[in-house]
């Protein structure tokens, strides 16, 4: 149709396909080798469920998974509550200090938050590192993500709705209860699920705030990778991928805008 467009389109497609392959091939290999009947991640020997069976009887992994689920549940619920409040506050009032404290943990390197919390917990609070310190750290970095999602959805609402509610005699609380809240609820839930995923996946901040007693799934995976690589890691990776995949699909169903990167 247009001169030169065919070749250029083909070139773009070729590069794009290569990039997609670069993104997916490594993960595909992790999944494939989790079913491989060999101790080495080198060549395909035969199909087996063996590594999943090993996983089911690995007490350390199961305990770590339990910890991860507990930490993610508590921290994401708290972060959803605080993050929603922060999102509403940032939308309604010009609070520069709050906005700064909400956005900065999202943007700065994780290691900085990790070490400053480590210092704070031990030096100031005199807290023994463990479940509580991990949960507090996870809430701190999750608040920002929830707040951004909630604030974005508030910004997209039609102001005339609230004027209409006011004209009909609704009090500020009634307006919030019957108009604002139902409208932002999908974003609140999506933000909460995002906080849950971030918490379950977090390695860096947990690494600094966990201490010696408590292990989470990512911490367990880290020590497995550092010590000895067995296909058991592949098996746990595959299961974890399925879990986060399910969560992402859930988020995209509840609030499609969250995944469209429209912040």
């Amino acid at each position: 149709m247009r001169r030169g467009d065919g070749h250029r389109g083909m070139g773009l497609w070729a590069v794009a396909l290569a990039v997609y392959a670069f993104l997916y091939l490594p993960l595909l290999i992790v999944v494939i080798y989790s079913f491989n009947d060999s101790r080495l991640n080198a060549e395909w020997v035969g199909f087996t469920w063996h590594w999943y069976n090993v996983l089911l009887h690995d007490e350390d992994i199961l305990a770590a998974a339990g910890n991860s689920l507990f930490i993610a549940s508590v921290s994401s619920l708290t972060a959803t509550l605080l993050g929603t409040m922060a999102g509403i506050a940032m939308h309604r009032y010009p609070l520069k200090a709050l906005a700064f404290m909400v956005m900065t943990p999202v943007a700065m390197p994780e290691i900085l938050l990790g070490v400053s919390l480590l210092l704070f917990f031990i030096q100031v609070l005199n807290l023994t590192l463990g479940m509580l310190s991990i949960i507090l750290a996870h809430i701190t970095f999750s608040i920002g993500f929830v707040a951004i999602v909630v604030r974005t959805s508030l910004a997209g609402l039609d102001e005339s709705l609230f004027e209409a509610a006011r004209d009909c005699g609704a009090s500020p609380w009634e307006t919030f209860r019957h108009i604002t809240f139902p409208l932002i609820l999908p974003s609140v839930i999506a933000g909460g699920l995002m906080a849950f995923t971030l918490s379950i996946d977090d390695f860096v901040i947990t690494f600094f705030t966990a201490g010696v007693g408590v292990s989470t799934l990512p911490l367990r995976i880290y020590s497995m990778i550092k010590i000895a690589v067995t296909p058991e890691v592949n098996a746990v990776s595959t299961l974890l991928m399925l879990l986060t995949l399910a969560l992402i699909v859930l988020v995209s169903r509840i609030a499609p805008n969250v995944l469209r990167w429209k912040t």
Partner: protein, 350 residues
């Protein structure tokens, strides 16, 4: 008028046309804003005044009720730790790790505040070297990500609307896997028994060169850095490219610009804000990364992150660890400032 047009070069004509479009759009936006403001004032002033008496009593407590809890939480667990870290960088290390006391019971032990850690940082070249190396790795990662992400983002932005969301989702999905798993995948791919190692070493052998280890090398670190951060570059670029008006390219084509000129004189300059925000999103996390060099790097691949981790968990020299963290913070702030400045200047010109 037409005479005037024919005398201009194609690019100059395009520039003028673009300028006119931009001016018109700006004027339209401003007019709309004014109108809507008038509307709000005229219609809601009486209502707002009537409600003022009752809401003024409520407004202040509501404001604090909503913003108070997150504010206090973040003050306690984000701002306070930050301040503690700044203070810690001016103290002496404790005898058994941690910090030495500010007020000592025994006057012979180290106590109080000092600039010692900062002096130490600048006295040994190795620390400056590690910082410089981290910057180089971050720069290389950003550039490779940009080169890989641009064609993909361009393709997505120019695809039919229906398929765009799916293509974006396909970029985000690898995010769904744990960060460590994505690093682990490269342990397998670059391992000594993997196909890639055999291939590379076979090639090297054919040319009579010694075999290399792909794993535990700077190469492995760079590959994983790009792999983990690539989506951060694709998404802002796509968001920017999607907003471009296709009419601009048609205009450029009609004025005789070839494909390369259309890209270099129209698409690329317009996408600079996207490039800056994507680069910031890649550069900053790479600068503070410790897990990738830790798992995939060799002994010589230490970056700032590894240095900080070592001070806090290894040698337990917390004051020096804090100093390094503050240096990293300053470096990050400088990058953000630079990106904002470059991006801002672009916007003013456009």
């Amino acid at each position: 008028m037409s005479e005037n047009h024919t005398r201009l070069t194609p690019t100059a004509r395009l520039n003028r046309w673009l300028k006119n479009v931009a001016c018109a759009a700006k004027a339209r936006r401003q007019a709309a804003k004014k109108r809507s403001l008038h509307g709000v004032n005229e219609h809601s002033e009486p209502v707002a005044n009537a409600g003022l008496a009752s809401t003024a009593v409520f407004r202040l407590p509501v404001k604090w009720l909503v913003s108070g809890p997150p504010f206090i939480f973040l003050l306690l667990f984000f701002a306070a730790p930050g301040i503690i870290m700044v203070l810690a960088s001016f103290r002496y290390p404790g005898e058994f790790g941690g910090l030495a006391p500010v007020i000592a019971t025994d006057p012979n032990t180290l106590h109080g505040f000092t600039l010692e850690t900062y002096r130490f940082f600048f006295s040994d070249l190795i620390y400056t070297e590690i910082f410089a190396k981290s910057f180089l790795v971050a720069l290389a990662t950003t550039l490779i990500c940009l080169v890989m992400a641009y064609p993909l983002a361009l393709l997505i932005a120019r695809s039919p609307k229906k398929s765009r969301n799916l293509m974006v989702l396909l970029v985000i999905l690898p995010f769904a896997s744990n960060f460590l798993i994505r690093i682990y995948a490269w342990m397998i791919l670059l391992g000594p028994q993997a196909v890639l190692s055999h291939l590379v070493n076979g090639l090297l052998g054919a040319f009579g060169m010694a075999p290399v280890h792909l794993l535990f090398s700077s190469f492995a670190v760079l590959v994983a850095m790009v792999y983990v951060h690539l989506p951060f570059m694709v998404l802002p670029l796509y968001t920017n490219l999607e907003k471009h008006d296709p009419a601009l390219l048609d205009a450029a084509r009609d004025l005789g610009a070839n494909a390369w000129q259309r890209f270099w004189c129209v698409t690329f300059p317009l996408s600079l804000p996207g490039i800056f925000s994507g680069s910031t999103l890649v550069f900053i996390p790479v600068l503070g990364m410790f897990a990738i060099p830790d798992i995939l790097g060799g002994t010589g691949d230490m970056l700032i992150g590894n240095l900080i981790k070592e001070q806090f968990l290894g040698t337990r020299d917390w004051p020096f660890g804090s100093t390094l963290s503050i240096m990293l913070t300053i470096a990050v702030l400088a990058c953000v400032w630079l990106a904002a400045r470059l991006g801002g200047r672009r916007k003013r010109h456009a």
